[in-house]
């Protein structure tokens, strides 16, 4: 998805993990992916530069969908979609 498209998205839930260090943001996302029903869009806000690379890698590994990243000022908004139960 393009940044413009991502900005239009209304996430089911937003997880603000700023202030936690690697792998904190990823772990926060995982907790949310587990809890939300299939079809949910989850926005993760992370202040850790690694997350923008880590999250897509993890989503790919567990076969969930990565929608894209919007870089902010010192943080990243990372969008993912739960496409199957886990």
């Amino acid at each position: 998805m393009t940044e413009e498209e991502l900005k239009q998205i209304k996430p089911t839930v937003t997880v603000d993990a700023r202030g936690t260090y690697c792998p904190g943001p990823l772990m926060e996302l995982i907790k949310e992916v587990r809890q939300q029903p299939v079809g949910s869009v989850i926005e993760l806000i992370s202040g850790d530069a690694g997350s923008a690379k880590d999250v897509p890698e993890w989503l790919n590994k567990v076969k969930q969908e990565f929608l894209g990243v919007i870089p902010g000022d010192g943080y990243w908004r990372i969008f993912s979609k739960k496409v199957k139960d886990m």
Partner: protein, 130 residues
């Protein structure tokens, strides 16, 4: 990466347990079955007494982790255990030498094991040693 990961932690250096807990966390939540074997001087870091007093042996990064109030290794392990398949074993030989019991160890420790048992767990697993 294979679906089994074995991590041996032998050093008392705080940072080694920390990086082990980070790798173990991400592996465990990615469907990898993780087994940790804590042995030699590393065992001191898994004693309730050491954790309560934060009496760890660490270097410059340990000081920063404390200062920035980042999660400690035992918190990362605990979280990983809730989210994925992770077991932590302490070397029974070290427990014997130090005269410590399971109750002296922090709660994230599942059991104590001898080497033959851990070698069995390591079979077919990728292994990392710290």
């Amino acid at each position: 990466m294979s679906d089994k990961l074995a991590i041996i932690i032998a050093s008392e250096e705080y940072e080694k347990s920390h990086v082990a807990s980070m790798i173990a966390s991400v592996a465990a939540v990615s469907g990898v079955e993780v087994s940790i074997f804590v042995t030699m001087n590393a065992v001191y870091n898994y004693l309730k007494e050491t954790v309560a007093k934060k009496n760890f042996t660490g270097g410059k990064l340990y000081e920063q982790i404390k200062e920035k109030k980042a999660s400690m290794f035992y918190e990362l392990f605990d979280q990983a255990k809730m989210l994925g398949g992770l077991k932590i074993y302490v070397c029974s030989m070290v427990m014997d030498i130090l005269k410590i019991e399971k109750e002296d160890l922090i709660d994230i420790v599942d059991d104590h094991l001898g080497l033959a048992a851990f070698l069995g767990i390591m079979e077919g697993a990728e292994t990392i040693t710290f």
